[in-house]
Symmetry: D3
């Protein structure tokens, strides 16, 4: 019955990559905590790089600076 929210920057993750995340995190919760995979919910949010900040700067700017 776990609920998992994964936030990543929107930079072209494919449908297959997102399916692998969903599968992997569901398996992990079953393996480590015995959680029933049938009721594990995973929601992936892809966030524009203008809207994600770390170190006081947006990822857009960090990428321009080579960060």
């Amino acid at each position: 019955m776990p609920y998992v929210n994964i936030k990543i920057t929107r930079e072209g993750a494919t449908r297959e990559q997102k399916a692998a995340l969903i599968r992997g995190v569901t398996d992990l919760l079953q393996t480590e905590l015995g959680k029933n995979p049938q009721t594990t919910v995973v929601v992936i949010d892809e966030v524009d790089t203008d809207n994600w900040g770390i170190g006081g700067e947006s990822v857009t700017i960090r990428r321009q600076l080579g960060g």
Copy 2:
């Protein structure tokens, strides 16, 4: 003063349906807990079916399989 976040798959909910959700959940919090509706905030997130997983699979794939 409650804050409610409702996440649903993005599958064509209309403006009217979303208004009914906002109204309904605000009323519910007033009826059950006496919360002032004027300061109840509701945010609805609509999530692509590729980005929503249950049972280890994305909703996109479950829909293709008839799930």
Copy 3:
């Protein structure tokens, strides 16, 4: 399959009141959007009044001021 997160201040909501919220919001999503109640997940967070702010002040202080 919806996921709903309800945040309220921690001020003595009873088990019965929280059960009523869970039931009510699950019913609402079925009535308004046709969502299957069996897979609707509701998580209620109760937040200390020191940790909830509105209008630039914590709820603790607003309550002291009669707000």
Copy 4:
């Protein structure tokens, strides 16, 4: 190491305004709590006015009514 999520209605916030939010909230956490800005993460969500409710109504409708 804080994580901050800011939700605002989608009404034309510019890249520069969002950068100022990221900078400001990161500085605030350093000033008030001594948090290392290098590991402070800020995520801004811009939400359609149809999907944001307050007082039991969507912001779309409140704006039409002059609210």
Copy 5:
């Protein structure tokens, strides 16, 4: 730089189990999406069974009913 929030019911997960979740989901994001593990943040929320609902009922009640 991903941010992952895992919500589970509060039912005695150990420090070691939570460490395994943190490690596992960080590895998964590196393997599947190439994300730098040094900046992947994972937050685990443990939620009382009174405060978690599925199928319109709290987990407390479902456990009593053998669900």
Copy 6:
């Protein structure tokens, strides 16, 4: 009308420090985006160091290692 959620590790932030965060982030949203402070909501979550991971390890372990 913004909603801000601040997550920090639970390490003794005082009521006064949390009030300063609430005030500061509310002011910031008014200054940078013109948001009405009366309807800005701020929720602070304090998370146990066992439940917060970065770099694949819990903060508890990082602190033990001098990180």
